[in-house]
Amino acid sequence: MDGKGRKSAESSRLLRMVGITKGFLGVRVLTGVDLDVAPGEVHAVVGENGAGKSTLMKILAGVHAPDDGTIEIDGRRVRFGHPLDAQRAGVAIIYQEFNLLPERSVAENVFLGREPSRRGLVDAAAMIRETGRLLAELGEDSFGPRDPVKRLSVAQQQVVEIVKALSLDARIVVMDEPTAALAEHEVELLHRLVRRLQDRGLAVLYISHRLREVFDLTSRVTVLKDGARVACLDTAATGPDELIRLMVGRDLGSYFPPRSSAAGEVRLSVTGGGNAHVHDISLELRAGEIVGLAGLQGSGRTELVKALFGAEPFTTGAMTPVRPRSVREGVAAGLGLVTEDRKAEGLALRQSVRDNALLVARAAGRRVPALTALLERVRLSPPRQEQEVRYLSGGNQQKVVLAKWLVMAPDVLLFDEPTRGVDVGAKAAIHDLMRSVAEEGTAILMISSELPELIGMSDRILVLRDGRLAGELPAGVSEEAIMHLAAGEEDS
């Protein structure tokens, strides 16, 4: 595009966000982010987990108010105090988690809160007619306006959200990782829908981790990194290599404990493991090694460790020492899982440190061991056993979760985001501890969305894509290599 063309395009921007800045509790999440979109444009927003994409979109949707910066729609300055304000201004956002009532019909969901009425009564016929018309316009005939939403597939529910956006006369549609939960053939249908929206002159902001669809679908792409916009490019003028470099491009400045020398005997092995979420999983974990598990959101990482652990068991395949059918069997077989969400899944928040640390041992009917040495080992500070864990910092809470499993002296420990929401000091302590546990002969599998952590800690890295193992990378591999494999861009 030449300079003149760009100028006329600038003046026809439907949406312009300028200098958006936002912090939560003193932590800067977005710094001076600019974003603009033209009618009929599909605009990609990409970035690593935690780059600020979702926050930016929530500001556009009126969920959060920016600390600084302006939003203009059609050249007019807008301020959104409530999601409804954004809705009235023509912004519709389709979250990964749908806002639908499963018990109600498609039409009732589309017109929720603004049902057409005649003489004071809901005009159900008009609702059904209008919903049917919009469905037909989108070429959707696999379900009708009267079908209850709970009977629809995820892809069909997404169509309902899109119809809702259209019925609101939305002109800017934000789609947050719309294909994360879709199967391959459904992705194709969704792309067709997005192009229809584009043809109608709507602006579509498309957040995706999958670079292939960024190149298939969008004309421009904004790259966010660490809460700032690092680039806005014409998609045709760039390539996956450049995008990945822009998304990750930073140094591995931090310290990680030295790697171990050699892996020992096999502690766990799976051949052809699969269930509803992950497929054809074959892997081995050996004593003394830390294996990283990489993958995009929705690639099935958490599902995989839960399958290994027995929380969402494999339904097919072989596993040694056993294929656990329940958590109890997993624990009995010497497995432990440090979950992603320690508040919901890892700890009983109102119980004491002691009770939490003994949770698994007691459930397994083990003799209650002395905790003092163990709490010292995980460097809980202060090591007070009677403290309720809800009053501890994130780092200390995570140490209690670790203690809970170390009591059992597990053969295999699975970590799902071990240092999420943990301060720098505690992070290093947890890393050291993981390494020392590995050296004592425990096999460790670790999920992390933080690539530097994954690279710094892992002896080798397994990469998941769409519920399948896409490959294995050696220690010290580059972030680009991981992203290529995780996003399925290795050939392009």
Partner: protein, 340 residues
């Protein structure tokens, strides 16, 4: 007030379920049976079995007398349960209905003794609307869970009743007693009143915006709020309507008893029994799903069971055991259906 569960959980779980239900005839039949149909099938079954049992016992089951009895016994509970249906559908519930019924019967009898019948009716409507308003406001503005809020209001009413009354009080004029005892053919006037209340509630739920909003608020408060629904207002209105239903039940009982009785509501166990009837009728206790038709079936089912046991002269302890089993079994059945 209600639980704001994970929004996607249910939605994303269903497609898997569908995938599995695709094959097999019995499964399909099973899922085609919604709880409302189940409760009426159960009602038909209980009538048939009861008829056989009573006949074997040497009696006649479906006489005019028993039919009238069933209707009369169920009218008051039925009216309360209609109100309770609204509250539960909206994701709330009301434990204050039993004491409110007692209070309403006393207000009606005292005002009617001193003044006129219309005055008594108006006073009851005023008092019960006020109680519902308090319930709704405590739940929405003070963010007290409905269970505790309505339990607290129930205790307050109990305190007032215990302080003011030792026994029955007031007198209902004979003209008003027609409501409790008259009948048109085999249909008692009280049953017609119940039908009218149920009809109004059904109409509101199915046809009015308010009804759509009740379903939305009970289904997911957050989704409702993000769709621009004033969720607090819906809950308050619902509690006013629920309490009005309890007030009407109080009027009916006052007309039957000829006086106000401070224990009439609690003796009838209208609080827990109305909730049981609603749940038996297939309305989800978590809200958002169900309706008045099921509740009517649930109330009738309980009444027919009662009637069968009475005719067979079954021990009343055994009667309670069977009622308990029926309620638990029904809800387990609905839960099974939902997960399959």
């Amino acid at each position: 007030m209600s639980t704001t569960g994970p929004r996607v959980a249910e939605a994303s779980a269903s497609p898997d379920g569908d995938g599995r239900t695709g094959s097999g005839g019995p499964r399909r039949l099973w899922t085609a049976l919604d709880p409302t149909k189940v409760v009426y099938l159960a009602l038909a079954a209980v009538i048939a079995i009861g008829w056989v049992l009573v006949a074997l016992d040497g009696g006649a089951f479906l006489t005019t007398e028993t039919i009238v009895g069933i209707q009369q016994r169920s009218a008051a509970l039925g009216i309360v349960a209609v109100g309770q249906t609204l509250a539960i559908l909206a994701g709330s519930l009301d434990l204050s209905v039993a004491y409110l019924i007692s209070l309403s019967s006393l207000v009606a009898a005292e005002v009617m003794e001193a003044g006129s019948v219309p005055g008594g009716v108006a006073a009851v409507i005023g008092v019960s609307a006020l109680v519902g308003l308090v319930n709704g406001l405590v739940i929405t503005k003070l963010h007290v869970h409905a269970f505790i809020a309505t339990l607290g209001v129930a205790l307050i009413i109990k305190g007032v009743l215990d302080h003011l009354y030792d026994g029955p009080a007031g007198r209902v004029p004979e003209s008003f007693q027609h409501l409790g005892y008259d009948r048109i053919g085999p249909i008692p006037v009280s049953a017609l009143l119940w039908a009218a209340v149920a009809g109004v509630a059904w109409f509101l739920l199915a046809k009015s915006r308010y009804g759509y909003r009740v379903h939305a608020v009970g289904g997911d408060v957050e989704v409702a709020r993000l769709s621009g629904i004033r969720t607090d207002r819906v809950v308050v209105v619902t509690h006013v309507l629920c309490s009005l239903c309890a007030g009407i039940a109080g009027l009916l009982l006052a007309s039957r008893l000829g006086a106000g009785v401070p224990t009439v509501g609690t003796d009838g166990g209208y609080d827990l029994e109305s909730i049981a009837a609603v749940v038996l009728g297939g309305t989800a206790l978590a809200g958002g799903k169900g309706g008045v038709a099921g509740t009517v079936g649930g109330v009738l089912l309980l009444a027919v069971l009662d009637s069968v046991f009475n005719q067979l002269e079954v021990n009343s302890f055994f009667k309670d055991v069977v009622r308990g089993v029926v309620i638990v079994a029904a809800v387990a059945l609905y839960a099974r259906r939902r997960t399959s």
